[in-house]
């Protein structure tokens, strides 16, 4: 399904290229951009943000068996000012959605969001009949990677993290030349 990391599905590659491959990046981008992307990729510090079941799996991902630290992402920062990544792990209710939005806005850019688990992707088990749960956090924050599962296995989360890393490689670092 979807993306294997070995190869994105064809239409998605094209879409990402059309969105992100800017024709006239500065030569600087070519010269040093890869260092910056490498650094961003390997130092994704997540915000300590977990609301429900998925948070437990997030912790399990940080623990010995799976060890998210191997990717340099074990530095769970309590303050969004120092974080790069929100792993939205768990149900987001409407009351919480505003807090999530605020936290996302307070993160310095560039920042990324992983929607972990069904609840954050679309409301999950609470899609029907629930009077509080947000039907997908993408109405509050832009989501980069969706990791389905209820809750997803730690491997799935790591796969999502690698998908973010993959995405970073296609993101521009420097401003475009004005007349390019």
């Amino acid at each position: 399904m979807g993306v294997g990391l070995k190869g994105l599905s064809k239409p998605e590659i094209e879409l990402m290229e059309s969105e992100s491959k800017v024709p006239g990046l500065w030569t600087l981008e070519k010269a040093v951009g890869f260092i910056f992307r490498w650094a961003r990729k390997n130092s994704l510090w997540p915000l300590q943000f977990g609301t429900a079941c998925c948070a437990i799996e997030m912790m399990a991902t940080a623990a010995g068996r799976y060890d998210i630290a191997r990717f340099g992402a074990e530095v769970f920062r309590p303050s969004p000012r120092q974080a790069d990544l929100i792993i939205a792990a768990g149900t987001i209710t409407e009351k919480m959605g505003y807090a999530l939005k605020r936290l996302y806005e307070q993160m310095p850019k560039p920042s990324w969001v992983i929607a972990m688990g069904s609840c954050t992707i679309a409301g999950g088990p609470y899609y029907y009949d629930s009077y509080t749960v947000v039907k997908g956090i993408d109405s509050f924050v832009p989501v980069d990677v969706y990791v389905p599962g209820c809750p997803p296995r730690p491997e799935s989360l790591l796969h999502g993290l690698m998908a973010i890393q993959k995405k970073i490689e296609d993101e521009p670092i420097f401003r475009r030349r004005r007349n390019a």
């Binding site: 399990a60 940080a62 029907y128 009949d129």
Partner: protein, 381 residues
């Protein structure tokens, strides 16, 4: 979103030498609130004058949803009421429904249920131990707890295919029989796990810093505890015998030998001790269950559509990992519960937080909150 609560708080008074009373907001995103509990704390210097928990950041309307689902479908939602101890809530709901409809699960299913609920208790207490230690600053026990917990989850996944939301204990039985290799693996795990408890104790129990942080902190007297609805290990730390497994035995708890772990101090350390002792008790219960497991059917035959008798109701309680888990079901003769109320231990345990922390320091809120073993979805549902 306007924050009505904060606008209601009056600015504090000034004392001639003192501090301005001021309001610190912890949560909804905060490392120590185990999720999305929000605490609004009125401080005088470092001393807590009032702790106001603000709930509802994880209110997922499970009770409303359950009114619109059939009884078996509700089981999937019970997984998510207390995801750290999902088996217990599965069991609570399944037992309540069985009692409502006058069903009984076959013995093998009962033994299996006991094995899994007690393993779940181990897993839950391990996570609690880690989170509690993490709350007072020791990060390594957390990772140790999770490491051992992984092996319990392996046992669960081997049997029912999920790590967290099992949907395993069903109305009238269990979902599927265990694999033949489960029993040796489970025994191997228990043998591996018992010496680990000693290590946790070396790391924490008599560590002078740990003692300083927990001894005498957040004392619940037995009277206050009962009156405020504290239950489970938190109340047993105050010396009140309140184990539903002993008081109102369900499954085959009256056929296994175990002691109810009690401590008399009622402080954070006593609650810690109770849970550490319960780890040992649960190991012994699982061992006994594995001994007495006999072949047989694992579920009773249910009608194709499960309907409750009209105008029936049941309040059924079990001892979950966190304490008394009550399910109140009202049946109206249809396949869906007319009313399903989850009475969760964390809800009443969190209520006592304000009383316990007044006059203590900010850091003690974390210690007390950690020692009460609070899980936010249980509070908010």
């Amino acid at each position: 979103m306007t924050d009505l609560l904060l606008s209601q708080i009056k600015p504090g008074g000034e004392s001639p030498f003192g501090t301005d009373e001021y309001v610190v907001n912890m949560g909804p995103q905060h490392p120590a609130t185990h999720g999305v509990l929000r605490l609004v704390v009125k401080l005088d210097g470092e001393t807590v004058k009032e702790t106001m928990p603000v709930l509802g950041y994880l209110h997922r309307s499970i009770e409303k949803i359950c009114e619109n689902r059939t009884y078996p479908q509700c089981i999937t939602y019970t997984d998510r009421v207390d995801y750290v101890s999902a088996m217990s809530v599965n069991l609570a709901f399944a037992l309540a429904t069985e009692r409502l409809m006058g069903l009984e699960a076959p013995p093998r299913a009962q033994w299996l249920r006991m094995i899994f609920v007690e393993l779940q208790r181990l897993a839950s207490h391990l996570l609690w131990m880690g989170a509690f230690a993490g709350d007072i600053g020791a990060l390594t026990p957390f990772l140790y707890g999770l490491r051992e917990r992984e092996r319990i989850l392996d046992l669960f996944e081997m049997t029912c295919g999920q790590r967290l939301t099992y949907n395993y204990i069903r109305i009238g039985g269990v979902m599927i029989d265990i694999l033949p290799e489960f029993i040796p693996k489970c025994k191997a795990f228990l043998d591996y796990f018992e010496p680990r408890i000693v290590e946790y104790e070396e790391l924490l129990t008599y560590n002078p810093i740990f003692l300083e942080r927990t001894k005498g902190v957040g004392v619940i007297s037995a009277e206050v505890g009962i009156n405020s609805g504290v239950c489970g290990p938190s109340l047993r730390g105050s010396g009140v015998s309140c184990d539903v497994r002993k008081q109102q035995p369900y499954l085959f708890y009256d056929q296994v030998k175990f002691t109810e772990c009690l401590q008399n101090d009622g402080d954070c350390w006593a609650r810690y001790r109770v849970r550490m002792d319960e780890l040992r008790e649960s190991i012994s219960i699982v061992r006994q269950c594995l001994e007495r497991l006999e072949p047989g059917p694992i579920e009773t035959k249910l009608p194709p559509i499960l309907k409750a008798p009209p105008a029936s109701e049941i309040y059924s309680r079990i001892e979950s990992s966190r304490g008394e888990m009550g399910i109140y079901l009202v049946g109206d003769g249809t396949a869906k519960p007319y009313k399903a109320k989850y009475r969760c231990a964390s809800f009443s345990n969190t209520f006592v937080l304000d009383q316990l922390t007044r006059g203590w320091k900010v850091a003690d809120i974390m210690a007390v909150l950690g020692s009460l073993d609070m899980i936010v979805p249980e509070v908010d549902r």
